[in-house]
């Protein structure tokens, strides 16, 4: 009986860990990692789309999932981008239902469409089940989510961001702002040199 309980627990924990690596969340990795990477982005910014589509996947695979870096994705909707804050709220809301990565992917992928017609809701919810979509729609207007986005913006203002995307690498208490227009392979050299 006891063995069965242990085995059952082991299987459940194993499944939970097996499922986790596939998930992309706003905060990923272990906080005790030597390197912290903070990404400030705006869903309507083309350079943020470039960063998301070219850097984030390999970065998560090579450094975050391997425990070498702690990743924090901050929302930093710029005031001149009409729908960026709404998109940020949907992304944060999606994080609560475990679909942050999926919603970010679809928002960046279809950036040029929804930034014209403002159909953020339709785009974001296209990758969610009806139940998840209903929850995300409610959460996206929740004061707690709005405050979460504002908190990210305030953090960016404190960090004196001049634009998006901004990637700040922190190692041993020192902050290194990185120019993300460079190639990912050179960025890896920076991260490797810090270890």
């Amino acid at each position: 009986m006891l063995t069965a309980v242990f085995l059952g627990t082991f299987v459940i924990v194993g499944l939970a860990f097996a499922e986790n690596p596939a998930k992309v969340t706003k905060v990923m990795g272990t906080p005790v990692s030597a390197i912290t990477i903070e990404v400030y982005s705006d869903f309507q910014c083309p350079k943020c789309k470039f960063l998301h589509e070219n850097w984030m996947g390999p970065l998560i695979r090579d450094y975050v999932r391997t425990g070498r870096a702690y990743l924090i994705q901050h929302e930093f909707p710029l005031p001149q981008h009409t729908y960026a804050r709404t998109a940020a709220c949907y992304a944060c809301a999606a994080d609560r239902v475990g679909k942050y990565g999926e919603v970010c992917d679809v928002l960046f992928k279809n950036q040029q469409e929804w930034e014209k017609d403002g159909k953020v809701d339709q785009t974001a919810c296209s990758v969610l089940t009806p139940a998840e979509a209903a929850k995300v729609r409610t959460l996206a207007k929740d004061p707690e989510i709005l405050a979460q986005v504002q908190k990210d913006v305030d953090l960016g203002m404190q960090a004196r961001l001049t634009g998006t995307p901004t990637v700040i690498v922190t190692y041993k208490g020192k902050h290194y702002p990185v120019d993300v227009m460079g190639s990912y392979s050179i960025f890896t050299r920076l991260l490797d040199s810090l270890h």
Binding site: T162, D179, G182, S183, I186, F187, R189, L190, S193
Partner: protein, 153 residues
């Protein structure tokens, strides 16, 4: 006058090069490589070579300018280097690249302010090179008529 102008210019430009080297060498070299790469001009191997060597070259140039040693050569090299930087910056700005200047470490966006600063530095470096290349004039006494000696009885 010319001597003081040269002194002032070489100390100013030398200090700028020393500061530029310091801001790059205090951080991991790959951070500067990211800035160089963002200009999208060089292949990766060249980006890495420039990122590793340029800060040390700037340091050496700064030391040589401040010391005044081989000033003619150093001033021409400084003007040439600043001309290359300025050209790259103007071209990148014209191409609409919103990147870091990379001049004095990360976090400084390429824009009119950085162009004005580097343009001014380039002008000063050219003036220094011209002044250093001009042959030094010989100091000759003023042409004064000999005093008439009058003998009195």
């Amino acid at each position: 006058m010319r001597k003081y102008a040269i002194l002032l210019l070489r100390l100013t430009i030398g200090a700028v090069f020393l500061y530029a080297a310091y801001t790059k060498l205090r951080d991991p070299w790959a951070l500067f490589a990211m800035s160089v790469d963002s200009y999208k001009i060089l292949p990766e191997w060249a980006v890495l070579a420039v990122a590793r060597s340029l800060p040390w070259f700037e340091l050496a140039l700064g030391v040589v300018l401040v010391s005044g040693f081989v000033l003619r050569h150093a001033s021409v090299v400084a003007a040439g280097l600043l001309a290359v930087f300025f050209t790259l910056m103007v071209v990148s700005y014209a191409r609409g690249l919103t990147i870091d200047c990379g001049c004095f470490g990360p976090g400084e966006a390429l824009g009119p302010k950085t162009l004005l600063r580097d343009g001014t530095l380039l002008s000063l470096a050219i003036v220094l090179a011209v002044l250093a290349m001009l042959p030094a004039r010989e100091i000759t006494p003023p042409n004064v008529a000999p005093e008439k000696i009058t003998m009195s009885a």
